[in-house]
Symmetry: C2
Subunit: 522 residues, 2 copies
């Protein structure tokens, strides 16, 4: 009964949309996709396997490999073709945490909340040491610590974080915010990472100085045999945002062990030391590096096209599969990965035989610089620097990406491809009741659609409600399964499946922007 | 210049207040108190010593003893008389954490955020064990686990916590909320802990059954040599609210080691186990009991009265000094303790020679049942059960308490003592600009003013802005120094000092409610 009403509703909506945008919408297909995506979803089960079961998925870590192997098998099991891991190029070392313990022991016992920085070494067994506050504005300032830091715990004078608890962690886009996005007329400058800075600008000079200072300190601390470095993490209330503390390159220089420490624990230690109180700590941190295979891999699988003329044309969907190491990368980006896998599952489940080929790419090493998707693009589509294009470039219809957390889809960023606007507007019509309405010509940066956009290919990221992505989960130890909102992920997978369906069945490929120019040789 | 303007302002305010409420306000004294309290405050330094320097202050723990010794010395240093620790009666064992480490090791490594329940034993060295989900609705259900739990980690099927991050953690009272409080006409039933429940009510029968089940499980787990119990803590995002897991009585039965586990870590383990995945853990928890001195102690100190006729009359101020063990009890209740100490310091600093005696009491064992203040009251003032009163009862003018976190004072709960209303209304007048305006005849419960109220003595708790007390800090591992809002604590100390000043100089003592009746003998 519910299904039939829904179907009628969809049919009407479909007609209305077609009339408005002159772009056909297949209401029957939408109804089937909605029924499968909203009422028979597997998206939470997929997310459970990517997060809880696989664990953290840092690039080239065992956790990422577990998740990739699971995904390939799962995609095969659903009947997708050519499910495989594909090397995209050299990444570097894998790394994982195998023991993580640190506590204050003087003036009293207190176990701290702290996470090893990615690609840092461990303490080589249990250590005990006094905390030393190192104050150094220049390399010369380090001299006075020479010979005094062996086995010690080093901290730096760091400002307390500003309290923000009078505002909610989580929010959704308001109608006003969405209207404003819809009214944008030009694509603002996006997150394209090929933009060059003037190397002689004061900012770049200061930056080089800071990098040199950091490198000198890092070398000094290794020489001085520092036991452990504590740095203050972003985050409050037990939430610790993480980064890397060393390079993943197989040729990277040695660094000292370093823990990103919850702001509360860090500031307590700092206040005590600054007040002249002796603070001693104990710690036992073990990390392991994996150097056997330095290649990075993407997960790929497809539903082959069935139309003789169109099957060589390819629609791609994807999101990055790698994560940071302190949580299980639930919102960043198990969410997007699970939605994209679920979209493929939905299309298989409704028995869809697409005209064009539909391919999923679950990228690795996004967190270090979109490397997985850039590698795929370089190997298959062309070089964005020289704009030398490969034959597949002409056949790539569109790429849809999802990587902004657990929030439902509210619309699409056109990334400046205004010709796609009326098409997507029509395709969103049947999802008004689910809150997806907004088309903006604007850009969004920071993730894998940029790899396609850099080659002038239609690469899109959806607009998603932010929820607590920026305040609580993005790269933090709290990016775990419970942050996922089931209804939002179901909605997203349903909409993506419908977009892919319509892209595949469309008479023409998605219109493209002008090809970018090759970067000038330096 | 600022001072003079302030003084003039105060003088005007003082006159206005007197005219309104017929209750004298000493504007010159208020100006001096404001100057000292708002511009020369030591409240954050006091709070630093109670929290960071002393550590957690669980009843009879070494941390509480450190803080008590520091407080006695500090109060002496400020020139207070009779600063001392005074035993209030037998409490029980002290306890502290000396090592706290636990991690998942299978299916992958992840160190969890978890806190030993108070008064539970440790693991007796490092342990490793598989996680077992125990499902038992009755004592008979435990049979099937017999012989299978030795060295294992036991968890229970526990519902995930509801996400609440769309609301802010912290808030202040709105004008509407304060108006509503001010309009209350009768004191609602407060938190008086002498209220008896019908022992045959369904609630009490169910409660007895639950207690029996818990006791049987506890015994069973000890007999079965369970390695560790994990229970889900209240709290999200790395915040862990704590409780006790065993009695502090010297005769308490043995229990198994138990960690209150962050909801995210607990639910991850639970989801994996329920999905049939093997989960193994390692842990090393060490706790120590202190049984040499089972007495509980309060900190006392005073500014002796100087008026021949009035100096035997006593105004008391206080708050509890003990805390839970996972944080440093900053908002519960270093905040109130620091404010009360600072109020005493302000009065000494302005050279005040009070007519009546002013005494501070920093109570212990409030968290286990207001024991410190109840013990003081029983030893000095009378027995609330029999209403047998001691001579000091007639001389106790008023008791002011602070124990609702870091939020500034917004007014006073009259606790049904409506005769005190116009007096306090007048005394609040000079603090309108600091947000303190509201008098409510209503009650508030749950803390040490109840010990006085139970004997019919004027015992008051101030209305305070809640901030994030109920959502984030109250009894949690995040109840640390950074939760303290300096301006709020300064405001509170200033207002308390002024209240104490005016109580001391008042012609008459604060009017009392009718004496309560003795409880009927059972």
């Amino acid at each position: 009964m519910k299904l039939k009403l829904l179907y009628t509703c969809m049919a009407l909506t479909g007609l209305a949309a077609s009339a408005f945008a002159q772009e056909p919408v297949d209401a029957a297909a939408v109804a089937k996709i909605r029924e499968e995506g909203l009422n028979h979803s597997k998206v939470m089960d997929i997310a459970f396997n990517i997060t809880d079961v696989s664990g953290p998925r840092l690039s080239n870590s065992p956790g990422l490999k577990r998740a990739q192997d699971w995904a390939v098998n799962q995609l095969k099991e659903w009947g997708l073709a050519n499910a495989k891991l594909e090397a995209w190029g050299k990444f570097g070392k894998g790394w994982e945490v195998q023991k993580n313990y640190a506590a204050i022991t003087v003036p009293y016992y207190h176990a701290i909340i702290a996470i090893p920085k990615a690609w840092t070494p461990g303490t080589n067994g249990a250590i005990k040491g006094e905390v030393v506050l190192v104050k150094a504005d220049s390399i010369a300032d380090l001299e006075k610590y020479k010979g005094n830091l062996a086995g010690k715990v080093v901290i730096f004078d760091t400002k307390p974080l500003t309290e923000r608890s009078f505002k909610p962690d989580a929010s959704r886009y308001t109608d006003e915010e969405l209207d404003k996005m819809a009214q944008a007329t030009a694509a603002p400058r996006g997150g394209n990472r090929n933009n060059a800075f003037d190397p002689n600008s004061p900012m770049m000079v200061a930056r080089r100085k800071m990098i040199a200072m950091r490198a000198a300190m890092s070398t000094f601390f290794v020489e001085q045999k520092v036991g452990l470095i504590l740095s203050q993490a972003r985050g409050t209330d037990g939430t610790v945002f993480t980064t890397n503390g060393a390079s993943y390159a197989d040729t990277a220089k040695a660094v000292a062990p370093e823990l990103e420490t919850s702001s509360e624990d860090f500031q307590r230690i700092l206040r005590l030391v600054k007040a002249g109180k002796k603070v001693e700590m104990e710690a036992d941190v073990k990390t392991e590096f994996f150097t056997k295979d330095l290649q990075g891999y993407n997960v790929l699988a497809e539903i082959p096209g069935t139309d003789k003329k169109l099957k060589d044309q390819v629609i791609m969907i994807g999101g990055h599969f790698d994560s940071w190491h302190a949580g299980t990368g639930a919102t960043d980006n198990a969410a997007g990965s699970a939605v994209m896998m679920e979209a493929m599952r939905i299309l298989k489940a409704i028995g869809f035989k697409p005209k064009r080929t539909i391919r999923i790419g679950l990228w690795s090493s996004e967190e270090q610089g979109l490397y997985g998707s850039r590698g795929y693009v370089a190997n298959h589509l062309g070089d964005p620097k020289t704009m030398e294009l490969k034959p597949e470039h002409a056949k790539l219809d569109a790429y849809y990406n999802l990587d902004n957390g657990t929030g439902k889809i509210r619309g699409v960023y056109l990334q400046g491809d205004s010709l796609a606007g009326p098409i997507f507007k029509a395709w969103l019509e049947p999802f008004k009741d689910l809150g997806a309405t907004t088309i903006t010509v604007g850009n969004t940066g920071g993730t894998d659609h940029l790899s396609y956009d850099a080659l002038g290919l239609p690469g899109f990221q959806f607009i998603q409600d932010g929820i607590d992505y920026n305040t609580r989960t993005h790269h933090s130890n709290q990016d775990t399964y419970e942050r996922l909102i089931e209804d939002d992920l179901k909605q997203a997978a349903t909409i993506v499946a419908s977009f892919v369906y319509h892209t595949s069945e469309r008479k023409d490929m998605i219109p493209r922007k002008e090809l970018p120019k090759a970067a000038p040789a330096r």
